[in-house]
């Protein structure tokens, strides 16, 4: 279908330290015991997109990601892993691989996207309108866990997280306005020309840019070339394209202009042909604008279309680093650190298990949880719903696991409570521990009677006997 796919997998994102380390780049961070990247790759594979370019920041991370991909998809997919220097923006990453891009349209996907929206839908919407860019929008996740009754009263006062301010036209097909990042908090500035042309605009704050874009390649490359200062797709490129959609400076939209120079008769025929095609079709505001309000403008104004594909409510869509602007409700108020500190969103992981089990490819047992057959449970140990227990993990007696994910080959002693937590692979937990709202990275060792609340424990860290932590980041010394 003449589409190329670029997955921006990031590198060792600073924002996710200590969960992410040199050994575990962001793309390989386990979500429901599978690397984040696998969700994207499998989504693409389902759509029959087998040629994928994965862009990873940093050579080492690229090696790791490449190794994992070649191990997991060697026979099925043709994946190229490209390494770009660390700390470059998404736009720079695309610039770096621009010479690889040959197809007519480019699908750019963020590597930390977990969703079940077929990318084909976005691509189709893009093609249908001949758009310069099409962005996928999904409803912004409602933060927090549904059953957090304790702080319910306080939650009502909170606004749901706002990621983007998005303006749509009346048909909800075109993107008239978008702000992202810090711009969101500022006043909304809407261009008059766009507003005049579109007639009305619907401003939505409940939508989120899902970081899945379809770009016209020519447009993308032109923008990247011309605007060398652009760092990020989300913050620079997309807002730029949306802003200039009615006063396009792009050359690509001059396809029609190429026809000049032919003799006038064929010119007339062409005009007639385009009239025949356009007049009977349902015109969007672009056509109205391009031809002037009364169709008398001598030269059609240049426009390019910015489309939006709005995912239907039933679809699941979340990003794994979408914590920047809000924290989990449970942690709210406990610890100012937790609020400012990026943290893997618990609810997102749990929801992956809960709502989108088919995404993760597991089937639920009767208790609405996933326990690998090789996992061993001690007596009187309970594993609650929406939990996951990886292969080869052992649990002692009288444990209780609620709304948590436990990775492979973990050894958990007796009388351990795990609530709202993520325990990655090869973690050892001693007897009588209590883990609440925390993330334990791989190879963490918890000795007996450790109490953790809202902590993130970096890989390989050892928590000594009897210690209690609350809202801390625990990582090995050289990390900090």
């Amino acid at each position: 279908m003449d589409f190329q796919v670029v997955v921006l997998a990031g590198g060792t994102s600073k924002e996710l330290v200590p969960l992410v380390s040199k050994e575990v780049p962001k793309a390989l961070l386990p979500v429901a015991n599978r690397p984040v990247l696998s969700y994207v790759v499998e989504l693409l594979e389902q759509s029959n997109l087998k040629d994928i370019i994965v862009v990873v920041e940093g050579e080492e991370a690229a090696l790791l990601v490449g190794g994992w991909i070649s191990g997991a998809y060697v026979d099925r997919l043709h994946v190229e892993v490209a390494a770009v220097p660390e700390d470059v923006g998404t736009a720079d990453a695309l610039r770096a691989i621009a010479h690889h891009l040959t197809a007519n349209d480019i699908l750019v996907v963020s590597g930390d996207l977990i969703c079940d929206i077929p990318p084909g839908a976005v691509a189709a919407a893009h093609r249908r309108h001949d758009a310069a860019v099409t962005a996928m929008l999904c409803s912004a996740p409602v933060s927090g866990q549904p059953d957090s009754g304790s702080s319910g009263a306080k939650d009502k006062a909170r606004k749901p997280g706002r990621f983007n301010t998005i303006g749509l036209d009346s048909t909800k097909q075109f993107l008239l306005h978008i702000t992202a990042g810090t711009e969101v908090e500022k006043d909304i500035r809407v261009q008059k020309s766009i507003l005049c042309a579109a007639g009305q605009m619907e401003i939505r704050a409940d939508l989120m840019d899902a970081h899945l874009y379809a770009f016209n390649r020519a447009v993308l490359q032109e923008v990247l070339d011309q605007k060398q200062t652009f760092q990020s797709i989300k913050l620079d490129v997309l807002p730029y394209l949306v802003r200039t959609q009615l006063s396009s400076e792009l050359l690509f939209s001059g396809v029609r202009a190429e026809d000049h120079g032919n003799d006038t008769t064929t010119q007339n025929d062409k005009v007639m042909l385009s009239q025949l095609l356009s007049n009977t079709s349902m015109p969007s505001f672009y056509e109205f604008y391009a031809s002037g309000s009364n169709g008398s403008t001598p030269l059609p104004r240049k426009t390019h279309k910015c489309c939006a594909y709005i995912a239907s409510k039933g679809k699941y869509c979340a990003r794994v680093n979408s914590i920047q602007s809000f924290c989990d409700i449970n942690r709210d108020g406990h610890d100012p650190l937790a609020r400012t500190h990026p943290f893997i969103e618990m609810s997102s992981i749990c929801q992956v298990i809960g709502d989108a089990s088919y995404l993760s490819g597991y089937s639920f047992s009767t208790h609405n949880n996933i326990i690998h057959p090789s996992a061993a449970l001690g007596s009187k140990t309970t594993v609650g719903p929406q939990c996951m227990l990886g292969e080869g993990s052992q649990m002692g007696d009288k444990c209780s696991v609620k709304r948590s994910v436990i990775g492979r080959h973990c050894r958990i002693g007796s009388n351990v409570k795990v609530v709202n937590s993520v325990v990655m692979n090869h973690v050892t937990v001693g007897d009588g521990c209590s883990i609440q709202g925390s993330v334990l990275c791989s190879n963490v060792q918890l000795q007996d009677r450790v109490v953790l609340k809202d902590c993130q424990v970096g890989a390989g860290f050892v928590v000594t006997t009897g210690s209690e932590y609350k809202g801390d980041i625990l990582a090995r010394k050289e990390k900090q």
Partner: protein
């Protein structure tokens, strides 16, 4: 024109167009010997409740078809009526004009086209059925042309009435047809095959005609003649489709009340098709699907459709989303998509370009049909393209062949559509006088061009744009006209009789003009034309010749397109008016959103084509006359 019209008053009750319930038997006879209206017509209602053709004039051929032959009562009147119905066709058909359809370059295509259409007509009891045969044997007289007007019938005629001109020995095909007819007449429903000459397109017609023939068939009559014919036709159609499915597109028109066929088609379908609930009984044979899910579903499959060319896919998406509407626009965009696909096409090893590309095009076409039923103009264009592919010389290399096809498509667009439009505009502008009040309905691109051109020429006139729900296409037209400085009046179709007092001419576009002069167009056109006729306002229909079709359609039921029923349940701009939400859950409510209707030629004063302006004379306008009068 007007004076002649006034002399021949048509009682509005006589013509029942479109959707009507079986009323009392007709109380009039139209000019011409209609003595033999089929007996027991009232009992002959089939379950589908299509009223029997009781009216003499245009249903006559059906009546004749129902009566002729197998029952072996050859009332002379029938023959006379056949004769009275046919000669103009036959005369014209035998005249060499027919090959002049295409100008110069296209002559061979059009000859081919005619041949094919002719073969389509075989056995479908079209009045102009004798056309291609007579074209083939140009020396036949009109009478002979009459005799071969329909193969089965033809056989019958020859059998029954020796008085008929049993000219030279019947050709092999004719003898064969005769045999078939006899066999069919024996009531042996089991066998009975189609004449060989019938191609896939013909079968579609057959099915359709078989159906229409079947309905009026009186049930109590012994071995049901027509039904056996219909059955045999159906069978033949079946067999042929299976055999030729690969080869012939557009595939036979499916009757969507035929469960098993629908199931089969569904399995092949790319677009997910959930049949709409609460379909109107009378229109069950037409496809109607739930609209809501089609677009998202097709979109989500974007990358899964490997064999589909992106350009074709895009056009399909736009059809389904309603981005492209209108016969010309749909046809042009389809052709351009095919052009893209042909450019990117490479012949797989060990396959012939002509065959493989045809198969490819067929796949594209069936995909497009799933997106939206083809318009007649598109059908003609596809036929043209396939004829070109079939005619490709084997000596051409692949790139040459592709280039030649692409330029053929370009020329088709240029000559058959754009140039034709220009010529039509030129013709039509001569019909606009100073101070005219021109009424148009809907948004025909052609009419728009005419109005704008007349305006540019400095003619002073006023335009009345009549519009109708649910599409309100007229608004876009109005916006453009007003933008160009025309004086316009905008009204809805419910006010058409009010506004018609002021109007001096009605200009209408058409989706197609059928061979009996019937104009097949946007629903509502018939109403406008009838009102205009009642007010003695001349009705000019503008239609490019490539949209002409040899089909004969007497009502808008047997072949039509069903639009989205939800569209009529919503009031634009009024979200609060939602009384019909969830109508699909109410079992005793069915919504019908027809897309086309047919306007009988009685109500049309003139048809303006690229071959010239044709006044419709008498009851019939026909295609050939149009060509003959053509200025090219």
């Amino acid at each position: 024109m007007d004076s002649r019209r006034t002399s021949r008053v048509i009682d509005p009750k006589i013509r029942k167009v479109g959707f009507f319930t079986p009323g009392p038997p007709p109380d009039r006879t139209q000019s011409g010997p209609a003595s033999s209206s089929p007996p027991a017509s009232n009992n002959s209602l089939s379950p589908v409740m299509i009223p029997p053709p009781r009216h003499a004039s245009d249903n006559l051929s059906r009546a004749v078809a129902a009566q002729l032959g197998p029952r072996r009562l050859p009332p002379a009147a029938d023959h006379v009526t056949v004769g009275s119905y046919n000669p103009p066709d036959s005369v014209l058909g035998s005249s060499p004009v027919s090959t002049r359809i295409g100008d110069g370059e296209f002559s061979e295509d059009s000859a081919n086209w005619i041949r094919r259409t002719g073969s389509g007509k075989l056995g479908s009891s079209l009045p102009s059925g004798g056309f291609d045969l007579s074209a083939a044997k140009a020396d036949l007289t009109a009478q002979k042309g009459l005799a071969v007007s329909r193969d089965e019938k033809d056989g019958e005629v020859q059998l029954q009435s020796s008085s008929k001109p049993v000219k030279e020995k019947p050709t092999k095909a004719e003898r064969r047809a005769l045999q078939e007819a006899q066999r069919a007449a024996k009531g042996s429903n089991a066998e009975g095959t189609k004449p060989v000459a019938v191609s896939g397109e013909a079968t579609s017609l057959h099915e359709q005609m078989g159906k229409t023939v079947k309905h009026p068939m009186p049930k109590k009559e012994g071995p049901p003649v027509t039904s056996s014919v219909a059955a045999s036709e159906k069978k033949g159609g079946d067999r042929l489709t299976e055999k030729d499915r690969k080869k012939d597109v557009p595939p036979p028109r499916m009757q969507f009340d035929d469960k098993s066929r629908v199931e089969k088609a569904k399995r092949r379908a790319i677009v997910k098709q959930t049949e709409a609930r609460n379909r109107v009984e009378l229109f069950r044979h037409l496809p109607q699907y739930e609209r809501g899910n089609q677009l998202p579903d097709l979109e989500s499959k974007f990358f899964q459709l490997d064999p589909m060319h992106p350009a074709v896919y895009k056009v399909g998406l736009r059809y389904i989303a309603g981005d492209i509407v209108g016969g010309n626009a749909r046809c042009i965009s389809m052709l351009q998509a095919f052009q893209e696909a042909i450019k990117d096409y490479t012949t797989p090893p060990e396959k012939a370009l002509a065959r493989d590309l045809t198969a490819k095009i067929n796949a594209f076409v069936s995909f497009l049909i799933e997106c939206r039923p083809l318009s007649i103009s598109m059908g003609n264009a596809i036929r043209f393209l396939k004829a070109r592919i079939a005619k490709l010389s084997l000596s051409l290399s692949e790139s040459e062949a592709k280039a030649s096809l692409c330029s053929d498509i370009d020329r088709f667009i240029n000559e058959k559509i754009i140039l034709a439009d220009k010529v039509i505009v030129g013709h039509a502008v001569t019909k606009i006088r100073e101070g005219d009040v021109l009424l148009t309905y809907g948004a025909s691109a052609l009419v728009e061009m005419i109005l704008l051109h007349a305006h540019d020429n400095g003619k002073k006139f006023r335009a009345v744009v009549v519009d109708s729900r649910p599409k309100l296409e007229g608004q876009a037209l109005l916006r453009r006209l007003v933008g160009k400085g025309l004086t316009c009046t905008y009204t809805h179709i419910n006010a058409v009789s009010y506004i018609m007092h002021e109007v001096t001419r009605v200009l209408l576009g058409a989706a197609s003009v059928l061979s009996n002069g019937t104009v097949y167009s946007r629903v509502g056109t018939a109403c406008v034309a009838m009102v205009a006729h009642a007010f003695r306002v001349p009705v000019l229909v503008c239609c490019e010749a490539y949209k002409f079709h040899e089909r004969v359609q007497l009502d808008s039921i047997c072949s039509n397109e069903l639009g989205d029923p939800d569209a009529i349940s919503k009031v634009p701009g009024r979200m609060d008016v939602n009384f019909l939400d969830n109508w699909a859950n109410k079992e005793n409510l069915q919504l019908l959103n027809l897309v086309y209707d047919v306007t009988p030629s009685d109500y049309i004063s003139m048809i303006i084509t690229d071959y010239g302006m044709v006044e419709t004379f008498g009851n019939e306008f026909n295609f050939n006359a149009g060509i003959k009068n053509g200025s090219h």
